[in-house]
């Protein structure tokens, strides 16, 4: 098994930085647990070459057009129907469309909704309730602060984890001494006053600090 090779152009600085933050992690920088099959990197270029050679750029985009052109050019005809050992009753295919039409026609009489049984009425009632609920959910006002306050911390944490990227937070933050992990929730100066006010109103900095940092 071949071992991981790395390309470290700032290796000493990266190691020193990690050592300061979490010495255990810095020690493991020397140890790489991943391997690959022997000879993998010798064979890889050949495998890739096989995949790319012989397939010109845009091949699949215009493939259907080229197939149709070929068919027209060669004036291909469907082959004569091959003989087979099966038989059908005389006139079967002449009568088939009519038989299919009869089979597809509704066999029962049409009953108005109000005359249907309780099962059908229940289904209709559930459908109407579903539509009303959907309209309500789509048009209801956003969550109020009071409702937000009722949410437990796990739900909030999950929401932030899934919906807010670190970099979005970093857009709002200035680091006084990033190397030592010191930071301030100072809003960057290029933001407008109205944006700042919106952010200050909407974001609980203490909560974000607790959740992320």
């Amino acid at each position: 098994m071949e071992r991981n090779r790395t390309y470290r152009n700032d290796w000493d600085a990266a190691k020193a930085e990690t050592e300061q933050l979490f010495p255990w992690l810095a020690k493991r920088m020397e140890h790489r647990p991943f391997g690959v099959p022997d000879g993998y990197f010798e064979q890889l270029p050949g495998q890739i070459q096989k995949r790319v050679s012989g397939i010109p750029e845009g091949y699949f985009e215009d493939l259907p057009g080229r197939v149709m052109h070929r068919i027209k050019e060669k004036n291909y005809q469907l082959p004569e129907q091959a003989p087979h050992p099966y038989q059908v009753p005389k006139g079967y295919f002449d009568q088939l469309p009519q038989q299919v039409a009869v089979a597809k026609a509704p066999s029962g009489r049409v009953v108005p909704l109000y005359q249907r049984g309780w099962v059908q009425l229940s289904v209709a009632a559930a459908l109407i309730a579903g539509i009303i609920a959907t309209i309500f959910l789509l048009t209801r006002p956003a969550l109020t602060e009071r409702q937000l306050a009722k949410m437990d911390e796990t739900a909030l944490r999950d929401y932030v984890q899934e919906n807010i990227e670190d970099y979005e937070l970093y857009q709002l933050i200035e680091y006084t001494d990033p190397e030592n992990g010191e930071y301030e929730f100072t809003i960057l100066p290029e933001m407008s006053d109205s944006t700042l006010q919106d952010i200050e109103k909407d974001i609980d900095v203490t909560l974000l600090e607790d959740l992320w940092l």
């Binding site: 390309y7 190691k15 979490f22 990197f41 890889l44 050679s53 970099y167």
Partner: protein
């Protein structure tokens, strides 16, 4: 650049000539395959997945190399394609498995320990699991700094992010990993 490999400018010059296009592509693969492979492997963890992803990456590169304008370094361009391909591979994998992230990550350390091409101990497996929990962009910063030792200034160009934000991101990633790994090691039986 690995030894005995051509510089980017020469590879691109060869690629511009139709008669040497395939040769240029082969040189490009040989030059960057290992570096990109290990970057992808750190994201997807398993050799079979990394092999799939890197082949797809180079097929895309073959079709798109004409579009490379030289605004950034070639590796930066390749790195972005590889990262996007690896992350979308992980997303597809999650959808196929139809399991929650927590469930998948919970099993990652055990899956790694059972993998033929993983030669680490429990702590190595927990470290990989901790990395898998990081948000995508924080994970990128951590992998570039920790495994590749990339300078923050170069990373700033690669990720279009300020050096200060990158340093802070690395700091937070390490602290999250510390919390996770310490917790797991304390839970592990003696």
């Amino acid at each position: 650049m690995p030894p005995n490999q051509l510089p980017d400018s020469e590879i691109l010059a060869l690629h511009g000539d139709p008669s040497t296009r395939e040769r240029a592509f082969e040189l490009l693969v040989r030059t960057y395959q290992e570096r990109l492979y290990w970057h992808i492997r750190n994201l997807v963890h398993f050799h079979e997945d990394a092999d799939d992803v890197i082949q797809n990456v180079f097929v895309k590169v073959w079709h798109k190399l004409d579009q490379f304008r030289g605004d950034s370094q070639l590796y930066t361009w390749l790195y972005r394609i590889a990262t996007n391909e690896a992350l979308s591979h992980l997303q597809q994998q999650k959808r196929r498995q139809s399991v929650s992230i927590d469930h998948e990550d919970y099993n990652l350390a055990e899956q790694l320990k059972a993998d033929t091409y993983f030669d680490g101990d429990d702590a190595d497996a927990y470290l990989q699991e901790a990395i898998s929990h990081l948000p995508d962009k924080q994970k990128e910063v951590f992998l570039l700094r920790y495994y590749e030792g990339i300078k923050y200034e170069d990373m700033s160009e690669m990720l279009a992010t300020s050096v200060g934000a990158l340093k802070a991101s690395y700091h937070h990633a390490v602290k999250k990993i510390e919390t996770f790994v310490t917790g797991r090691l304390n839970q592990a039986p003696e």
